[in-house]
């Protein structure tokens, strides 16, 4: 059973920020490794990029773009909360972060397929 304090939009905003941050941090070394193949093994980089043409991989990429966008917009929400005076519009910011991220990653996918 979900505890009362967790059944709140801002708790989900917190959880999404943690999950997106952790996923991005784990993805980062892989991302750097693949790019550095350009230096050491260009053929393997092209082979890897060819693999990214698979539709399922493109959807996974959309997921990463979504996580990056939602972490960015959620992070801006946090900075606004911490650095600017509090306002009743906090929940609107959280919703805008999710909506904006969906828009950015959707645009990515439309260009990818």
């Amino acid at each position: 059973m979900i505890k009362g304090h967790r059944n709140h939009p801002l708790w989900y905003a917190y959880a999404l920020h943690r999950v997106s941050g952790l996923t991005l941090v784990l993805f980062l070394p892989l991302h750097f490794y693949v790019l550095s193949l350009a230096l050491t093994q260009p053929q393997r980089l092209d082979g890897f990029l060819h693999w990214t043409e698979i539709p399922a991989v493109k959807f996974a990429e959309m997921g990463l773009v979504f996580l990056l966008s939602v972490h960015l917009l959620g992070g801006i929400r946090l900075l606004v909360l911490e650095l600017l005076p509090w306002s009743p519009r906090q929940k609107t910011w959280a919703a805008l972060a999710a909506g904006g991220a969906l828009f950015v990653s959707g645009t990515f996918l439309l260009n990818a397929v």
Binding site: P29, Y33, L35, S36
Partner: protein, 109 residues
């Protein structure tokens, strides 16, 4: 959390706001028609702008990711400060090294 880590986390976040917006734009632009090594390199190789852009990005994201990882681990696992600091420094240094290698791989002529 240490106030210096808190400040470094906020500062690296503020630095990255324009960089992430830029990176999202580059991704949406670059993905059109698929990606190839030669296409990426033709855009980035020899470019001082992209070297500085992604060089700064690598430093900021390594700091931010390492501190964020420490925060999450401290919330969910019962680790002492020594272990948390070791993981933070380990991740941060490996990330900076790998990131610097990646940036030089795609921007160096």
């Amino acid at each position: 959390m240490d106030i210096r880590l808190y400040m470094a986390q906020r500062l690296s976040a503020i630095i990255m706001i324009p960089l992430v917006f830029g990176h999202l734009g580059v991704m949406i632009y670059a993905i059109q028609g698929g990606l190839s090594a030669s296409e990426i390199l033709s855009r980035t190789q020899g470019s001082v702008f992209w070297f500085l852009f992604y060089g700064l990005f690598v430093i900021a994201v390594s700091v931010h990711g390492a501190i964020g990882l420490r925060t999450i681990l401290s919330e969910f696992l019962r680790l002492n400060d020594l272990a948390l600091d070791a993981i933070m420094w380990g991740f941060g240094l490996v990330s900076i090294f790998m990131g610097a290698r990646a940036v030089s791989a795609v921007t160096w002529l």
